[in-house]
């Protein structure tokens, strides 16, 4: 693949700028968070061209942003953030992606690593048996069309009302697990057909459930507020999204947006950036359907949370109450939200597109659960399955500079087939087993694609956002067992 050779100015050790003058039509400059070493990888592909292309979107304010885990996607790069004015700017499905509200949830427990390790195989078998995963697998939840509409409006609350989890869980979710303005009528028959049987399924690709133990606590006081008290404490990460329902919502709306681009005479350098004015019927229809898909994803992660609790209780021979498995938080990393930010000197309503990026609101923000408000919003950053994951919090600097956003994960470095070639002949499960990580996967080749070597080191990604000041590092965990779709 061709190296990107556009102009790039160094702002400081962790910030780089693509000037507006790079391409005629860029409305704002591009800003990339990276250190010099990671920039080398980033320049190996065309991700920065996509950062420049996003700067063409009508109504974009500030800068077209790229997080250090950026890699080449479609339309927006993965790891891209852009804010457009809600009044006269556009909304772009390509700024959210196909897996609407793909996101991460973190649970804390009262268990210690040493209590769980003797049961880890049994536990992973139990989780693998109880949580449907892989391609073309149907879930255990049956919903008809009317019920599916309720899922899309009520999100995680729908799941709790059906007995999946506890009411307390809902307080600890971004948006309370149900975005307002969801329009289930705008979700097509095809999207429903794909989504109904997949509710309560993990999916495939990079989706996973991980049992991990806290290995490092960087800010003990903040960690304690978030429910993390000691090294060795067992935590659970769930990474999944809106399944086929979200993919179809994106596709359906991209087709509408194609026409909208012509109708509203929007000039774009890349078709996959197709968009419509946020206030237009096309823009509002997409936003409503996207919110419906996002709510489906929150219901999905909620149902799986319930099964995780049950599986842990069963494998450990304890009651679920005994385990203390409480939600730390749940974040979306593929989503568009209407938020109030300061543009120039005035508070402005903007549509923040986060595609492979996480909201990271600072201490005191009114959208953070009361219990956490003093420390800032928890940010969950999963790494690859062989290394570690992080718990961060948002900062005031993020609010000022990156629309309250930060990175979302490790970011791919190798293509899936390159990863498979590099891993050829090696038993990934056995390699991980040697590191003390028990893995259960639906697909062996899928495991090779997700090997550590295919990803950037998430520690380096997190270090960049910390040094740039857009996140604080709170805790790191290392995996004990992983379920792969």
């Amino acid at each position: 693949m061709a190296k990107w050779d556009g102009p790039l100015g160094r702002i400081d050790d962790y910030r780089w700028e693509i000037p507006r003058s790079y391409k005629e039509g860029m409305r704002v400059p591009g800003l990339i968070y990276s250190d010099e070493e990671m920039l080398g990888h980033i320049l190996n592909e065309q991700a920065l061209e996509q950062v420049a292309n996003v700067a063409f979107l009508p109504g974009i304010v500030g800068r077209s942003l790229a997080m250090p885990d950026i890699h080449w996607g479609y339309g927006f790069a993965i790891g891209g953030v852009a804010a457009t004015r809600a009044d006269d700017g556009v909304i772009s499905p390509g700024g959210v992606g196909y897996d609407i509200n793909c996101g991460v949830r973190l649970l804390r427990s009262d268990l210690h690593r040493d209590e769980v390790l003797p049961h880890i195989r049994k536990l992973m078998d139990q989780l693998f048996a109880d949580i449907p995963s892989g391609v073309g697998v149907s879930g255990r939840i049956r919903v008809d069309n009317r019920e599916l509409s309720k899922v899309m409006v009520n999100g995680a609350r729908w799941a709790v009302e059906r007995g999946y989890g506890e009411a307390d869980d809902l307080e600890m979710l971004e948006e309370g697990g149900a975005m307002k303005g969801a329009d289930h009528d705008g979700v097509s028959r095809r999207a429903r057909e794909r989504g109904a049987p997949q509710l309560g399924t993990l999916g495939s690709g990079n989706h996973f459930i991980e049992i991990a133990a806290v290995s490092d606590i960087y800010e003990p006081e903040v960690a304690r507020v978030l429910g993390i008290d000691r090294e060795g404490q067992v935590v659970v990460l769930i990474h999944s999204g809106s399944r086929g329902l979200g993919h179809q919502v994106c596709e359906d709306n991209l087709r509408v947006m194609e026409k909208a681009v012509k109708k509203y005479d929007i000039r774009l350098p890349d078709r996959q950036l197709a968009c419509a004015p946020f206030t237009s019927p096309e823009g509002q229809d997409y936003f409503g359907a996207m919110a419906a898909a996002a709510n489906y994803a929150w219901a999905n992660r909620q149902a799986m949370t319930h099964w995780v609790r049950q599986a842990l209780a069963k494998a450990m021979g304890r009651s679920t109450r005994d385990l203390g498995l409480r939600l730390v938080y749940d974040v979306a990393h593929n989503i568009a939200k209407v938020e109030e930010h300061t543009v120039g000197d005035s508070p402005t309503r903007v549509v923040v597109h986060r595609k492979g990026a996480t909201r990271a609101f600072p201490p005191g923000h009114h959208e953070i659960p009361l219990r956490y408000r003093m420390v800032g919003q928890p940010v969950l950053i999963p790494g690859d399955m062989g290394r570690y994951s992080y718990l961060l919090t948002g900062t005031e600097a993020a609010m000022k500079e990156s629309w309250g956003s930060t990175c979302h994960g490790a970011g791919r470095m190798q293509s899936r087939s390159a990863a498979k070639r590099a891993m050829k002949g090696q038993d990934i499960a056995a390699m991980l087993e040697k590191k003390g990580i028990t893995v259960r996967a639906s697909s062996r080749s899928g495991m090779a694609e997700e090997a550590s070597e295919a990803y950037k080191d998430v520690a380096q990604v997190v270090e960049v956002v910390r040094c740039a000041g857009i996140s604080r590092k709170v805790m790191r965990s290392r995996p004990l067992g992983v379920i792969k779709g």
Binding site: M1, E45, H71, W72, G73, Y74, G75, I78, G97, Y98, D99, G134, V135, G136, R190, E193, R194, P197, G203, S204, G205, G244, H247, Q248, C250, E251, L254, R255, E258, K259, D270, R271, Q272, A274, R412, M413, Q414, S415, R416, S417, A418, S443, S445, G446
Partner: protein, 139 residues
Amino acid sequence: MENGFQILEHTADVGLMATGSDLKQAFAAAAAGLFSIIAQSRQIETRDCHHIEVKAEDADSLLVGWLNEFIYLFDARHLLFKRFDITEITPTSLVAEAWGEPVDPSRHHIKMGVKAATYHTLKVEREFGGYRLQVLFDV
């Protein structure tokens, strides 16, 4: 290039190049390429016939629409296809009969789920002696 298609490298996604002496052949090769990404094509039998019609704004959208039709049929109805007889094609519409069968986990190895065919780096090009298509899948 085997069977008129080739899988292309991409960091996060999977690309496909397909060729044919005419648009019908090239589109058929692209669909065959898609199912080679999802499953082992040799394991798929042509038991059932499925009638498919796609309409679009232009040839690019037609290709994306054609492939997304199969992604939907696989995701929602668990259908795999192997033979694609395109009976009519214009730059904005096509009619086809696709032959395949429902997924049978005892016989079919499913390799990968595909979320959608995208417009990114999409190409429908005339070249000497036929057509060349390029498409990127979000997986």
